[in-house]
Amino acid sequence: MKNSILVFFFFVGFSCTNTQVIPVTSFDIMNEINSFKGEKVVILNVWALWCVPCVEEFPMIVELDESNKDLEVIFVSADFEDELQQVKSFLEKQGVEPYSYIKKEKDELFIEGINESWTGSLPFIVVFSKNKGIIVDSWEGKEPKSRFEVAINIALNS
């Protein structure tokens, strides 16, 4: 998916500043994560506008993403698809561009497809290592920046 998205933005020439919000399944997301194996640490963040802790920690995660060239943060909104416009506005305000994702799958399929141990509580974070692409940490709920930093450091070396 990473390549097809890059091709898409090559052809539109990045002429628009709008954030594209792409509906995805868990399969799409896992493929996207896998495409960074050997290149970057990946943080998957499943969030929603209605989830207060998700919105509270969002700027901190964006900042981590922007300040670390070896890190790719993949945000997936769990809002309903008809709330796409609100999701898009929020992402634009947060500076997430040129694209991001929104879930288009039923809850149970999505949860199981992302991680069988996930109970469905939001926010949900998974940290994948740079070299092997394995999960080095994952958690449900809001956590301090320090937990992210520890996980990223481990992920950079595994």
């Binding site: 929603a48 209605w50 989830c51 802790p53 769990a78 309903f80 039923k106 809850d107 149970e108 949860i111 199981e112 141990s117 996930w118 109970t119 469905g120 509580s121 939001l122 926010p123 394995i134 999960i135 080095v136 940490d137 994952s138 958690w139 449900e140 709920g141 809001k142 996980a151 481990i154 070396n157 595994s158």
Partner: protein, 194 residues
């Protein structure tokens, strides 16, 4: 360093450990406070056929969307010997949106036809491994967990539900048939433990 990393890899995942199917209801005597301010516990509110525990709260959008189903479940199954209780374990909001007063208001406004109670130190939620709202736990008359998870597969629209997980489990239990799907998953708001 490598061993330390592996140690972290295997021990650092943070999920609630949900009560396993077949487990006995824990903390039956734990004090809960209902919306009238009265002390109750799960043992004191047990149903003759089943006990349904729903971890819930006042404001979670997923609770709000599923609340119409709360009322239907209570209306349809209470006469059949199923006791239903919604438990609020959002400790960090007990001084705000999830105070006992706000819970009483919410229950009245939504015409709750089941017990709604506060879990003072979230001990019940911890014991059940509940992580979100709503989070459903159904016990048979011997207090054995027979179903855990979601109400159904469509929070937003009761008319578009294709799998009424909980109603199916209740129907099977009450007719002494095997429950085909004993667990399910859905998204929900995290329980605010602290």
């Amino acid at each position: 360093m490598r061993q330390f990393t592996i140690f972290l890899i295997f021990l650092s995942f943070s999920y609630g450990v949900e009560l396993k199917i077949g487990s006995v209801m824990p903390k039956k005597e734990l004090k809960l406070i209902d919306t009238e301010g009265k002390s109750i516990n799960l043992n004191s509110i047990k149903g003759s056929e089943a006990t349904l525990v729903v971890f819930s709260c006042n404001t979670c959008p997923w609770v709000i969307k599923w609340e119409d189903r709360y009322l239907e479940i209570a209306k349809n199954y209470t006469p059949k010997g199923v006791s239903m209780i919604a438990v609020n374990s959002n400790v960090s909001r007990f001084d705000g949106d999830d105070s006992l007063g706000k819970m009483k208001e919410h229950a009245s406004k939504m015409n709750y036809n089941f017990i709604y109670a506060q879990d003072p130190n979230a001990e019940l939620a911890h014991a059940f491994g509940a992580t979100k709202t709503p989070h459903i736990y159904l016990f048979d008359k011997n207090d054995i967990l027979v179903y855990r998870g979601a109400i159904d597969d469509n929070a937003r629209d009761a008319n578009k539900v294709t799998e009424p997980f909980l109603a199916n489990a209740l129907d099977a239990l009450l007719s002494k048939k095997k429950i085909k799907k004993t667990t399910s998953k859905a998204l929900g708001c995290s329980i605010k433990y602290n």
